[in-house]
Symmetry: C2
Subunit: 361 residues, 2 copies
């Protein structure tokens, strides 16, 4: 019997209600696979600002440090948008957690599920050709964290500056993540850069090619970010793993998420070199629909599955959750946003979907 301590940070908006469903699912695999979870809840984001005066209180951080992994909900909302930038949930909690735990490896799978092609904003024939991409995004370096960053000068000559920065080591470790992932998938890595303009991208290309030599079974392709943004619309099924720097991955992963048309189904993982990680839905806190019991819990449930797979190595339990989710979707047990307008009366609630997943395990 394995024992794990998990930090559960449900956060704001729909976070708490979808987290309830993920916990049910964890309870189900706990029983079935004889895994013991100690789930400890901590405030994060807006609720933490309200309760403790800051988005990432020390007790939350301490709880995360003591855990094997973090199951994260979603944070932010209009209530906290007028705070100074540095104190807002997204920066003060999300970027801080990424930096603190060196969660450099961000995995964002995006796929069009069979039967849900009509949700994609892409033309029917293009969506029908299929889309199943894993965006591997570098998450703790690049222009997000590069120094120096600031303002200088006076009057109209005053200027702002940010530094994009990548070391060989930083590029190598994320490239390795991408190639290892590709070996288990479509065996193709498309590295996204702007090597015709950025020195960082040139080093990115060089190191990626070095890493590729250790993975002869995986094809490596380079694409400029502007072209990638285009090709994703026209020939989305040409991609398997897309390897991106922090900024480019931010853009490309959101474009990929939108291409599926079903953000409520997409989990994500942010992992460090010791397999410690933070797992969260790709979508936001959706304050407009919070508290109504209509939010889709699947992304949160699949985030729990990624946690089991990548941080705990509990592959069987993760596989069981993934299969249960597939069954739930193919049985048409769906929240409203996945249904055509004329079928919305068949929509299931957040907890009905969660219960159905549990029943399949």
């Amino acid at each position: 019997m394995s024992d794990y301590k998990l930090a559960v940070l449900a956060g704001d908006g729909i976070g708490p209600e979808v987290m309830v469903e993920a916990k049910k699912v964890l309870a189900a695999v706990s029983k079935k696979f004889d895994i013991n979870f100690e789930l400890n809840d901590y405030d994060v984001g807006g609720i933490a600002i309200d309760n403790h005066g800051q988005a990432l209180p020390p007790e939350t951080l301490k709880g995360c440090e003591e855990a094997s992994a973090i199951l994260f909900g979603s944070i932010g909302g209009p209530k906290w948008d007028s705070l100074p930038l540095e104190q807002r949930p997204e920066r003060a909690a999300l970027l801080a957690l990424r930096g603190h735990f060196d969660l450099f490896s961000n995995l964002r799978p995006a796929k069009i599920y069979p039967g849900l092609e009509a949700l994609s904003p892409l033309r029917a024939d293009i969506a029908a050709s299929g889309f199943d991409v894993l965006v591997v995004r570098e998450l703790t370096s690049g222009i997000y964290f590069g120094q120096p960053k600031g303002m200088e000068g006076e009057g109209e000559e005053e200027f702002a500056f940010d530094t994009m920065r990548y070391s060989r080591k930083e590029i190598r470790r994320i490239a390795i993540t991408a190639f290892e992932a590709a070996q288990k998938r479509g065996k193709k890595v498309t590295s996204v850069d702007k090597a015709n303009v950025l020195v960082c991208s040139r080093l990115w290309r060089e190191v990626t090619e070095e890493v590729a030599k250790d993975y002869p079974d995986v094809e490596l392709e380079h694409i400029y970010i502007d072209n990638a943004a285009m090709q994703l619309l026209r020939y989305p099924n040409q991609f398997d793993v897309m390897l991106c720097s922090n900024l480019f991955g931010d853009i490309i992963s959101d474009e990929c998420a939108m291409i599926t048309g079903s953000m409520g189904l997409l989990p994500s993982a942010s992992i460090n070199g010791s397999k410690f990680g933070m797992y969260e839905p790709a979508g936001g806190s959706a304050p407009d629909i919070a508290g109504q019991g209509i939010a889709n819990p699947i992304a949160q449930i699949l985030s729990a599955s990624m946690l089991l797979r990548f941080s705990l190595g509990e592959t069987d339990a993760a596989d069981a959750i993934d299969a249960a989710v597939m069954k739930t979707l193919s049985d048409g047990v769906l929240t409203g946003e996945l249904l055509a307008p004329e079928k919305r009366d068949q929509a299931k609630s957040t907890s009905e979907v969660g219960d159905y997943v549990v029943a399949q395990i």
Copy 2:
């Protein structure tokens, strides 16, 4: 009778053949509107490397300096892709010309033409809702030109760095371009940034809001680049003018171009503070179809129209070209790539399309 000297830089691939059609159209408006053009041809890009050993030879640059504006074709191709980056056509000619003439204001219109909705890779109902965007991209600053840029350190700690940099002055002048353009269009500016991460974006937001005060009839909205990349797919018709920094504009303008599904119709303008400008198709040199007489000349023809409008102030002639192009499209006089596969036998050649446009003037 007005007299203008124009530098014509046809370049590589399909550049020369579509330029022939643009020249025909200039000849037609010359007659009709009593404007005298002195058209001087110069080598640029790959052909200039072949003939003169460099992508932007001094005589070409001198010719541009002596002209009222530059009509540019397209450059590059596999033949020159193995050259060191600094010598390649795109950097050595395109970036050099932008920098040399301080062409900070890049206008990239993208729209879905009535009747051509099916070309869009977006879902039919979304494409039918309409799309007509002008991307206003800052073109001579930001991370493209910011200093320092380079490499430092040793071994695995060796790192590359690029600097994103914007002064108040640089932001102000491109924001003014965007607001003035919006006044003549849909009266809405969406400023694209990453203000939750970049100091440059925060200054960008601040200055954009200052400029907005002078244009009370224009609505200003801010959007994060990742969200913009998504919203363009789901609700493309919410946008009118999209104001972007150099890097973000590179990505967003290509995404917009692809959304139209008809790159061969899209012109672009790069203008400086004295209304000197360089005008070129949005698409590339398409070496795969060069020399076959099937390339679409419309983007090149509309580039000539933008030149007349923005650098020469010859509004009547520009309007006449735009109207002639609209008529050509609505009469179904189209090159093959705009036609459904089963209608390709009705495709017109490059010169047939050019002649038809001329006949409408």
